[in-house]
């Protein structure tokens, strides 16, 4: 790695990367990698698929770096690319997940109580897949309900239902108190 790159701020690194500095892009990748891998796993990708998609997402980001305006965190930008890649893959290969997303029906979740001292990843693993995906995209990748509805090509009401139900279950499993305006 080029000396002096590591302590630079992200916006400086991003500017250098846009100008074609591979070392700067490498440092941005190093910083963003845990978030992107974590997001993919939380969405439901197994570790091998998550790593494959993370790699594809960073390479897609490198190709499109000229279009990165630095308006949000670099990690968030790549995380969205990765999320889109996972959704595309899931749409092609996981018909049952798409059927669950399209059906606005409350699915049974794994019966695990908050008393078991779960962390976030464990709690997410107990959610029905459709809820897990929507909750992760909303809370983990910063999608609004409208953006998510567009991305998944689903009605807004369906997306809201998945997010609300999933968030309610997640809070219950983590022992997080409901916030103001929380779905009841």
């Amino acid at each position: 790695m080029k000396p002096g790159i590591t302590p630079l701020r992200e916006d400086v690194l991003a500017q250098l990367a846009v100008q074609g500095d591979r070392a700067a892009f490498g440092e941005l990748t190093r910083r963003a990698l845990p978030r992107v891998r974590g997001l993919l796993r939380r969405m439901g990708a197994d570790p091998a698929l998550a790593d494959d998609l993370a790699q594809d997402a960073f390479l897609a980001a490198y190709r499109a770096i000229a279009g990165y305006r630095g308006e949000g965190a670099f990690a968030a930008w790549v995380a969205r690319i990765a999320a889109r890649l996972y959704l595309r893959r899931a749409q092609q290969l996981r018909r049952e997940l798409w059927e669950a997303l399209e059906a606005d029906i409350e699915q049974p979740a794994d019966a695990v109580s908050a008393a078991d001292g779960m962390d976030l990843d464990q709690a997410l693993a107990t959610l029905p897949e459709a809820e897990r995906l929507c909750v992760t995209l909303c809370h983990g990748a910063g999608y609004t309900h409208e953006e998510l509805a567009r991305e998944l090509a689903l009605p807004l009401g369906t997306v809201k239902s998945h997010v609300w139900r999933g968030t309610r279950r997640l809070r219950a499993k983590l022992g997080v108190p409901p916030g103001p305006g929380d779905p009841s």
Binding site: P34, L39, Q55, L120, T167, G179
Partner: protein
């Protein structure tokens, strides 16, 4: 407050523990980036060849046309000092010029559209 503005959950989701295998994955990404760079350099060279051909072929065609123009003017009795271009393209000259110009413009167009597509 919308679902994704919950600070408590956002804080939980913002925490990403370091996963094993990061070094191997970073190496794979770096190799991928190097491959993309090599491909981009190759594309730039091809683009340069197309652009040069696109620019030079119409110039050649125009030069040949210019030479034939001088000959035609000379045949009409107009004695204009010739640029002394001695290309040998007898009967096929008009067709040859047209083909050269067309190939040149096509190359130029290809280079321009490739560049535009890559943007």
């Amino acid at each position: 407050m919308s679902a994704n503005e919950d600070p408590h959950l956002q804080a939980l989701f913002a925490d990403h523990p370091e996963l094993p295998g990061s070094a191997r994955l970073l190496e794979a990404i770096d190799q991928g980036v190097r491959r993309i760079e090599a491909r981009q350099r190759w594309r730039q060279r091809v683009l340069l060849v197309f652009a040069l051909a696109g620019l030079s072929l119409p110039v050649v065609a125009m030069t040949l046309w210019g030479a034939s123009l001088w000959e035609a003017l000379g045949a009409l009795g107009m004695k204009i000092p010739s640029p002394r271009i001695t290309f040998a393209m007898p009967e096929a000259r008009p067709w040859g010029m047209a083909v050269l110009a067309a190939v040149g413009l096509a190359a130029l167009g290809t280079a321009a559209s490739w560049q535009a597509w890559r943007r």
